[in-house]
């Protein structure tokens, strides 16, 4: 993407033409990964289930972004704006999770009478 403003009209830049075969290979990879993720979910790995699922999903997402969406050929500016939402999501979850697992007074539960199924949170030092 240039800002040379050379202003010659009718540029014959087609840009990168990705062959259909490449897309087909990626599709097969995506389908295989989908099968893997379904099978992996049938096995009980405790808290690693979600980690594995998200990892496989991220591999699939990367394939879609890099190949299907031509990410491979895009410049740094576009890549910055591809990454920013994911970074912000990480900040969002990260910031909120400095809060919830460390509360010394877990959420009160009301009419539905549910109990927190939270794993043992680190005990906060005795304040009042």
């Amino acid at each position: 993407m240039s800002h040379s403003n050379s202003h010659s009209h009718g540029h014959d830049e087609v840009g990168h033409v990705v062959p259909e075969s490449t897309f087909l290979k990626v599709l097969i990879a995506l389908l295989v990964l989908t099968v893997i993720t379904v099978l992996a979910a049938q096995v009980d790995l405790g808290k690693w289930n979600i980690v594995g699922a998200l990892l496989i999903a991220s591999v699939k997402a990367s394939l879609v972004i890099v190949i299907f969406m031509h990410g491979k050929y895009e410049n740094k500016i576009i890549w910055t704006y591809i990454l920013i939402p994911f970074i912000l999501l990480a900040i969002m979850i990260g910031g909120i999770f400095t809060d919830d697992p460390f509360r010394s007074h877990p959420l009160p539960f009301g009419a539905q009478g549910q109990q927190a199924a939270a794993p043992a949170a680190p005990k906060a030092p005795a304040h009042h």
């Binding site: 920013i84 939402p85 900040i91 910031g95 809060d99 460390f102 959420l107 009301g110 906060a124």
Partner: protein, 541 residues
């Protein structure tokens, strides 16, 4: 900077007169006209929000009911004040008006990257405003922060008002997106990133925040609507939800939003001070870096609005420490502005008065912000008038003063006319004095423990409240007078402005005042650094 634009067209023809009639304005994709579409709208909502404020202040002037007989009406009024001022006035604020007008001119372009999207963003804004107006028939009293579970359970038109805010947010996103692409793609030859005026850098940082932060609050608002209609319960403790989650999501946008409000004002001040000091901007690179740093760090401090909401100690400590960090780039800017003025040849024209007032008022805002960033201190100050005074110093003393400064500075460029200096200075004096008279007592009230959003108070607080109300009326008078002066001059003024009355070196002043529809007859080629005032070689720092 030396630009080589030549106005080959008829000097009399400009963007204001080349097409006439209201329809030509409502269908115009010219960024300069869209500026005015936005400007009249936001100033109208500024007026409405201001009236709400004066009603609130009148009620609070004396203990006990004064002009409002029930607390619910009072709650509605301060909610409306906040909603109108924030969503309809300050957030669109400088970007939608001066940003729209100036960015293409300052980078040497004909228009923004997506002119039709630009006009569309204004219509989206107006639709949002219309939805908000409809919501006024059963007005909400939740405060502009819409905290759950009150907002998710109360009977007023929360869904409508919140949806209005969502639509307004969409307008903000479109504007931000447009500016990012414009600044990346449409800079004139030779206009490298490090030759951009700081107003463009500030607008770029603002546009990034607008584009990436606003969707977060948009979705949060939709979730509030979903909660009201479908009862998912994620914000409702009685259904296993967490109301603090709503606050996290809300402030994740709303803190960066305050930088949307104030960063462009930083840019305005950065443009005005070098011109009226006849000196290059001190530390251009650091001003640029600090603008981007404020935008970035602004995303990780949000929970300082929630220290006493029930978040964990660990979280509170983390956010407190990080909040101190965000003060640093702001302080750098203040240092740079003051250093620009040092040993400069200062001209005390109205724009410079506003710019200098900004520096002073924002210093107060910033330092009182540090107090609030301190955990132990905030436990005391939270939800008191100290906070109210702090954020009025940042938003009003910062963003709004920046807008008024910008309107005065670029008035000759936008209208081709000159306003009366004596009148504008008089209005400035009223405004400045009135503003401080309103809010300094509020710092003291806060220290004395007066809570915010309270309809009434014990008699011991009355004196300060009365003084504050007098200040509010003076403040309102100042704004009205300043804006009326500009409006009157724009419509009926006779004094024609020279092309470049303040002898500024940036690109927008090198074309005629008012500009032609296409901005420049030829795309300028930039060969020199910005802000090279009074330097022998013409090169800036």
């Amino acid at each position: 900077m030396a630009a080589h634009a030549s106005a080959a067209v008829n000097e009399e023809l400009n963007y204001l007169n080349w097409q006439k009639g209201i329809w030509s304005w409502l269908t115009s994709t010219d960024h300069k006209r869209i500026c005015f579409l936005y400007l009249y709208a936001i100033l109208f909502f500024f007026l409405v929000g201001g009236v709400a404020a004066l009603l609130v202040r009148t009620e609070l002037a004396f203990a006990g009911p004064t002009i409002i007989t029930d607390p619910h009406t009072y709650n509605v009024l301060f909610t409306m004040h906040g909603v109108f001022m924030i969503f309809l006035f300050v957030v669109p604020g400088i970007p939608a008006t001066l940003g729209n007008f100036l960015i293409p001119l300052m980078i040497g372009a004909k228009d923004v990257a997506f002119p039709r999207l630009n006009l569309f963003s204004w219509y989206v804004y107006m639709i949002g405003a219309a939805i908000g107006a409809i919501a006024m028939f059963n007005p909400i009293d939740t405060g502009w922060t819409f905290y759950a579970p009150y907002s998710t359970t109360t009977g007023t038109s929360v869904s409508l008002m919140v949806f209005a805010a969502f639509v307004l947010g969409f307008s903000s996103i479109l504007t931000g997106l447009n500016f990012i692409v414009t600044i990346h793609q449409l800079r004139a030859p030779g206009m490298t990133w490090m030759r951009l005026p700081v107003f463009v850098w500030a607008s770029y940082a603002t546009a990034v925040i607008q584009t990436v932060a606003t969707p977060v609050v948009g979705m949060t608002l939709l979730l509030i609507i979903a909660e009201r209609w479908f009862g998912a319960g994620i914000f409702d403790p009685s259904k296993g939800g967490d109301p603090v989650l709503m606050e996290h999501l809300f402030w994740f946008y709303s803190h960066p939003a305050v930088y949307i409000m104030v960063l462009p004002a930083f840019g305005v001040v950065g443009e005005i001070i070098p011109v009226f000091s006849r000196k290059p901007l001190f530390g251009y690179k650091m001003v640029v870096v600090s603008s981007m740093a404020i935008a970035a760090v602004g995303f990780i401090v949000w929970a300082h609005h929630m220290f006493v909401a029930g978040i964990s100690d660990f979280s509170a400590k983390f956010f407190s420490i990080v909040t101190f960090l965000v003060a640093i780039p702001t302080a750098i800017k203040v240092f740079n502005w003051v250093s620009t003025m040092y040993k400069g040849s200062i001209s005390f024209k109205t724009p410079m008065l506003y710019a200098m007032a900004f520096v002073f008022l924002f210093m107060v805002a910033g330092t009182t912000g540090i107090y609030l960033a301190m955990l132990g201190v905030d436990v005391y100050y939270h939800d008191t008038y100290f906070v109210v005074a702090h954020f009025h110093y940042t938003i009003q003393g910062g963003a709004v003063i920046g807008l008024i400064a910008a309107l005065h500075f670029w008035f000759p460029k936008m209208t081709g006319k000159m306003y009366n200096e004596t009148v504008s200075k008089f209005a400035f004096a009223a405004l400045f004095f009135g503003f401080n008279l309103t809010f300094i007592p509020q710092f003291i009230l806060g220290m004395d423990g007066m809570p915010r959003r309270y309809y009434d108070y014990p008699a011991q607080y009355q004196t300060l409240h009365t003084i504050s109300t007098i200040g509010a009326y003076l403040n309102g008078f100042g704004y009205t007078f300043a804006l009326a002066n500009l409006l009157w001059t724009a419509l009926y003024g006779k004094v024609k402005a020279p092309r470049n009355p303040y002898n500024s070196h940036s690109l927008e002043w090198q074309t005629q005042s008012p500009p032609i529809h296409e901005n420049f007859a030829e795309i300028p080629v930039v060969t020199d650094e910005p802000y090279n005032y009074g330097t022998p070689t013409g090169r800036g720092h």
